[in-house]
């Protein structure tokens, strides 16, 4: 079994475990490459027919290409797609000018509303350990309290494929089938399986997106990688982080606010 087969097999096992344990299960689909890979794995796990819904938290600020892709493939693959938007925050004029507040209102609160509305016990998320230092401590089955807080000090061991899948009341479980994958693994797998992705990842005029989300919070990187093969080649030699174009933006906004308050600006 090669490395990609092992990764796939482990992820399918986790997805099936989650489906076995939770009646109210959903998968978060952001339409990015990771969650689309997870969607592909879910389709494999259930032979083409995913028995639980997909949840898309729509901030209304995603790239038009992402909406087009979402609608095209949800139809093509016969997905049970639930789309949720924090309409109240949008009606109050929440825009990406206030990036920190915007993310909280449209993503976090949007997700809370969806969980309350549909009563999900568990959610499948396509996060990976190599994305950010803080995710290195995550587990495959990771409980959240009602405030979405994650308790680092309650990290159960996950040995021999035994997962702590029971949670206290008022919590939901986040299940991370791609936790053990790296960014490169994802691309090698996309290549092998020929998984469709949005064109935003492919270079046009010397730029491409390495990580996608809301338009105002994503910056393209300098790149001439216009095919999946070229992206893999690029990743084999890069030393910058995948989310540099996203996380830094929010941290810069925080810094600017802080410096303003202190009178430096």
């Amino acid at each position: 079994m090669d490395r990609l087969d092992e990764l796939e097999s482990q992820s399918v096992y986790i997805i099936r475990e989650a489906y076995y344990h939770y009646k109210k299960l959903a998968m978060l689909w952001s339409v990015g490459k990771d969650s689309t890979t997870m969607l592909w794995l879910c389709r494999k796990a259930f032979f083409g027919e995913i028995p639980f819904p997909l949840l898309h938290i729509d901030t209304s600020y995603k790239f038009p290409e992402m909406y087009k892709f979402r609608d095209e493939y949800s139809k093509k693959w016969g997905l049970k797609l639930l789309i949720t938007r924090n309409e109240e925050a949008l009606a109050k004029g929440m825009t990406c000018e206030k990036k920190l507040e915007c993310c909280t209102a449209l993503k976090t609160e949007g997700l809370k509303q969806a969980i309350a509305k549909y009563g999900f016990e568990a959610l499948l998320l396509g996060i990976r350990r190599d994305e950010h230092g803080i995710r290195a401590k995550e587990r495959y089955f990771s409980p959240r309290d009602e405030q979405f807080k994650w308790n680092y000090q309650d990290q159960p061991p996950e040995l021999w494929d035994q997962y702590k899948n029971q949670a206290e009341e008022k919590t939901h479980i986040r299940v991370h089938p791609l936790l053990h994958w790296t960014e490169k693994d994802i691309w090698y797998y996309i290549k092998r399986e020929n998984i469709p992705i949005t064109d935003l990842y492919l270079a046009k005029d010397g730029k491409r997106y390495r990580s996608i989300g809301c338009v105002p919070c994503c910056s393209p990187i300098e790149s001439n990688a216009s095919t999946v093969d070229e992206i893999i080649e690029e990743l084999e030699s890069t030393t910058t982080s995948e989310r540099a174009g996203r996380a830094q933006d929010k941290e810069d906004t925080y810094t600017m606010q802080k410096l303003r308050a202190l009178g430096y600006m």
Binding site: I134, Y152, D252, K258, G263, Y264, M265
Partner: protein, 465 residues
């Protein structure tokens, strides 16, 4: 039985406390523990850095190098390849810091809240970032330390927005922030025999920014509160001194001084009025300029840049005019006067090569203007001219500002030459002392050979400006 742990070298830094204020508070009996220590080992005046802002001062401290080598020139900087802002942090710092140098010598190190240490570098010990850290999770190395910090409701910084809205609320916030930091300090002191242990107090800078004038004018509500805050710092110092053996090498110092603000000066607006800078149609940030029409522009505090052809993405000043433009810009800056008093605002304008040097330890070096203009690397990021104001004139930006001079709720500003130093059991340079001269004696005291390119000795000392 509890095992008592003691650090082999202790640093407590107290941000922005001028030596004059310290002496006053010690004399008044507000800071008796500091006074007792100062009575034993003396108090010294110390120079800060130019420009005098915490991130540059602490970069000098933690690297032992001048900004030309470590590359931190202020809280904001120019993003490469465009007229956009970036926010320098420890990733931008082009050299190893003192915690890393000690870690390489297998020393166990601890650092907490020192400005410019975020994101924390991976050291042999614990490093907790300072006030620009976006969250506790990201501030701590190793990341798991944020668990403990969260458990005591540790705060990375007091809330400056609160300070603008409600001074009493600010005081409460400062007290809690200080109390939590001191709790964390004593907790970590007890965990092991650290080789090097540094805790930083930021609240003194904050209270000086927002209440210094009220203190000096003996405001009946806030002058006692100001003293009460410093008394709390002193109590923490007293507890720390009780906790440490008398022979533990110890440094207690500030990174710069403070004085009351007479006026905040919107320097970008001044350059607009003088025709150097033309703002873009829509001003979104301090670098929203029209490059095709701007010959120079500035960043805080008092950092002037020539919009040089071949260096800046939309540069229009030919390299052969670089020196002429710098000289004319300097003259214009030196001409600025306070409209209320007709006092001069700018004390001195320095060319970048007059206080920074790019490499080696030869100190400032004579360079031809064209050579200066073409410098790359960390030195090449320096401002072309650095305006140093008279005390009381706080240089800001204000590209789209409506007034050149203004007074806001800010009451205090940083000063260059009156930081303080109280040193016990550490051999510091005898005469002139600058904050970037501290790393070398700390390393030497711990038996670690300073890197050959570390400044702070011989010619590699920034001239007193």
């Amino acid at each position: 039985m509890t095992i008592r742990h003691n650090p082999k070298f202790m640093v407590l830094s107290i941000d922005g406390v001028p030596i004059g204020l310290l002496r006053q508070l010690m004399g008044e009996g507000v800071m008796p523990n500091m006074a007792a220590l100062a009575g034993q080992v003396g108090t010294r005046q110390m120079r800060s850095v130019q420009p005098t802002v915490s991130c540059v001062a602490w970069a000098g401290y933690m690297t032992g190098k001048n900004p030309g080598k470590h590359g931190i020139y202020g809280f904001i900087d120019r993003r490469e390849g465009g007229y956009d802002l970036k926010f320098p942090n420890s990733l931008t710092m082009a050299t190893e810091n003192i915690w890393e140098l000690l870690s390489q010598a297998n020393k166990r190190v601890f650092g907490m809240n020192v400005p410019g240490s975020f994101p924390p570098r991976q050291v042999n010990g614990i490093l907790i970032g300072g006030f620009l850290s976006p969250s506790l999770e990201k501030a701590a190395w190793p990341a798991g330390e944020s668990n403990y910090l969260k458990s005591i409701d540790y705060r990375l910084d007091s809330d400056a927005q609160l300070a603008r809205r409600d001074k009493q609320a600010m005081l409460g916030d400062l007290d809690i922030t200080l109390a939590r930091r001191m709790e964390a300090m004593f907790h970590y002191m007890d965990t092991e025999d650290w080789d090097f242990f540094h805790t930083h107090i930021m609240g003194s800078d904050r209270i000086n920014h927002f209440l210094l004038q009220k203190f000096e004018q003996e405001d009946p509500e806030f002058a006692p509160a100001f003293r009460a805050y410093y008394r709390k710092i002193d109590e923490a110092v007293g507890k720390m001194l009780d906790r440490l053996p008398d022979d533990t090498p110890l440094l207690i110092f500030s990174d710069h001084g403070f004085c009351p603000i007479k006026q905040e000066v919107q320097l970008s607006r001044y350059l607009v009025e003088k025709g150097w800078t033309v703002p873009a149609e829509s001003v979104r940030h301090p670098l929203s300029i029209d490059p095709a029409k701007s010959r120079a522009y500035c960043l805080i505090p008092g950092r002037g840049y020539v919009n040089l052809k071949g260096r800046e993405p939309g540069g229009i000043v030919p390299p052969e005019e670089y020196q002429q433009v710098r000289q004319q810009l300097s003259r214009d800056l030196l001409d600025m006067r306070d409209p209320n008093t007709n006092e001069k605002v700018i004390r001195k304008v320095l060319m970048r090569e007059e206080i920074y040097w790019p490499s080696g330890c030869r100190g400032i070096q004579k360079m031809e203007p064209l050579e200066v203009a073409r410098q790359e690397g960390t030195f090449g990021k320096a401002a072309d001219v650095i305006a140093i104001p008279y005390d009381g004139y706080d240089l800001k930006l204000g590209l789209a500002g409506k007034t050149l001079f203004q007074k806001t709720e800010l009451e205090g500003m940083h000063t260059y030459n009156d930081a303080f130093m109280i040193a016990r059991g550490v051999e510091l340079p005898k005469d002139d002392l600058e904050i970037s001269m501290l790393a070398r004696p700390i390393l030497e005291k711990l038996g670690v050979e300073p890197p050959t390119d570390m400044d702070g000795i011989g010619e590699a000392i920034t001239p007193d400006v």
